[in-house]
């Protein structure tokens, strides 16, 4: 199979990942519309090709982890999905809408379906936790303040932060910020949630809490999730499928079990975190 082929499990291969998943999904056939589709995505930044013809389809309802070393192009991929970056070549389709070649209104419609959890949370420091989560509602939905309060409190309860609603981002820990970022991402009930390094910089307990929240989001809201991570325990715990990026190309797409069983020396070195191997001999 060519490296950059769109890999979608065929109908009937309902392999359950070895890690217990709350909602094992049956993968849709190739013809079913993907939630997100990357077609031959190519991007060069400062003379370096960060994405080199990446093609990938992410089905509705699945949780896909995109892995790779630092500078492999993971975060750049996410930024293309939300239209923060424009590719040099190729396209990104969200629910069938090409977000790379569309007008402002269509891009907004596509973004309406997406919640984005930034690596550094990206909370507005001048606003309280409550105001941060309420911001998308106040800016876009003409609803009464009581309804705003109800919905924000509901999401803060979901991420276990109802008691911190009046604090400023500077007054809460990194893990709490990640959870506030998640509450803000889901406040308008998006169909897709993108997570950029959701467990980076967190202690193992807080990392586990965030992983549980990601699983909860799929269980309770049934969303499509895309994680960008190099935290292997997180990726194996929450994913239905995984993709590995190497030097701007997709090296492999498969289930967690397929990744564990892979004999590819790059994948083996990456998932087992070995210091010796082809990755450390080949600059990313």
């Amino acid at each position: 199979m060519p490296i950059n082929a769109i890999v979608t499990p065929v109908e009937g291969t309902n392999e359950t990942p070895s890690v217990a998943h709350p909602t094992p999904i049956s993968y849709r056939p190739m013809m079913a519309p993907a939630a997100i589709e990357l077609c031959d995505l190519t991007k060069t930044l400062s003379g370096r090709t960060v994405l080199d013809g990446v093609s990938l389809a992410i089905q509705k309802g699945e949780t896909m982890s995109i892995m790779g070393g630092s500078g492999a192009g993971k975060s750049v991929t996410l930024k293309h999905i939300v239209g923060l970056m424009k590719p040099d070549r190729g396209c990104v389709k969200v629910d069938g809408v090409d977000v790379t070649n569309t007008n402002h209104g269509s891009l907004e419609t596509a973004r309406r379906k997406i919640g984005f959890c930034f690596q550094g949370s990206a909370l507005l420091n001048s606003l309280s936790v409550f105001e941060n989560v309420a911001l998308p509602l106040r800016e876009h939905e003409r609803i009464a303040e009581d309804e705003v309060r109800r919905r924000v409190e509901e999401k803060l309860v979901l991420v276990g932060l109802s008691e911190a609603s009046q604090k400023l981002p500077s007054e809460i820990s990194g893990g709490m910020k990640k959870r506030v970022g998640l509450a803000r991402a889901i406040i308008r009930n998006p169909a897709i949630i993108l997570y950029d390094e959701p467990t980076a910089g967190l202690d193992p307990v807080m990392g586990r809490t965030i992983n549980d929240l990601i699983l909860d989001m799929q269980k309770k809201l049934g969303v499509t999730s895309v994680l960008v991570t190099h935290d292997m325990s997180s990726a194996f715990r929450v994913s239905n499928r995984m993709a590995m990026l190497l030097k701007g190309k997709i090296l492999k797409v498969g289930t967690p079990d397929e990744f564990r069983a892979s004999e590819d020396p790059f994948i083996k070195q990456f998932i087992y975190g070995e210091s010796e191997g082809p990755l450390t001999r080949t600059p990313a």
């Binding site: 930024k79 939300v82 239209g83 923060l84 907004e108 973004r111 309406r112 997406i114 984005f116 930034f118 690596q119 550094g120 990206a122 909370l123 507005l124 420091n125 911001l135 998308p136 800016e139 876009h140 803000r184």
Partner: protein, 256 residues
Amino acid sequence: MVAAIVKAQRWFENSCAGAGYTLDLFLRAAGQIPLLGRKRREMIQQLALTTLGSLPVVFITALFTGMIVSLQTGQVLRDFGQESSLGYIVTIGMCREMGPVFTCLSLAGLVGSTYAAEIGTMKVSEEVDALEVMSIDPVYYLVMPRLIALSLAAVALTTYANVIGIAGGALVARSNFDVDLEIFLKNGRDALKLKDIYGGLLKSFLFGTTISIVACAQGLRADGGPAGVGRATLRSVVISFMLILVFDYLLTWMIW
């Protein structure tokens, strides 16, 4: 030699790109003004912060500007026995030039640098990206309220600076040159035309607009972490200073 030419060419290209971005940002921010009602609270907050926060600096700057103008011109006028003309010179000088220019140079350092650092920090910490992902236009959310707030604050603070500067000039005229306060003020009133007042205030309005749009543009173009924010802040102040002086010459030429 070739390296120097390449460097100069790169600098020129970057400068043109920066100027184009700033102009485009201004047009986009101006296009958002009809939505000011929804950002009223933020605009008033910025206006209050800008105006009240700048009062002490503007007071000192204006007071000493008026005193220096009075002292320097008074010494020359004394040779001709024309000390009583100080009222004309200080009042006209403050309202036409010193008030708007010195107030806005202070604002470029005080407020423009704050805007650039604030927005630059938001840019490098992905807060601006977060706004875009939430379909909240950063120009509407961050730039437009600041643009209006600083333009209005510049006018209010220039009015205040004019009064303080004239008072400082009168103080020196009285203490150093024995010019009667009443004569000083009467001469000032006689010399001052409506055009001097609104011309000066128009200048300060345009300088305020320039400072805020330059600062916001530099902030939004910041990259490369804290060092990038520092560079954006520095560029914001330097560019604002230069543009204030260039626009001052052009406006003076056009108005008077």
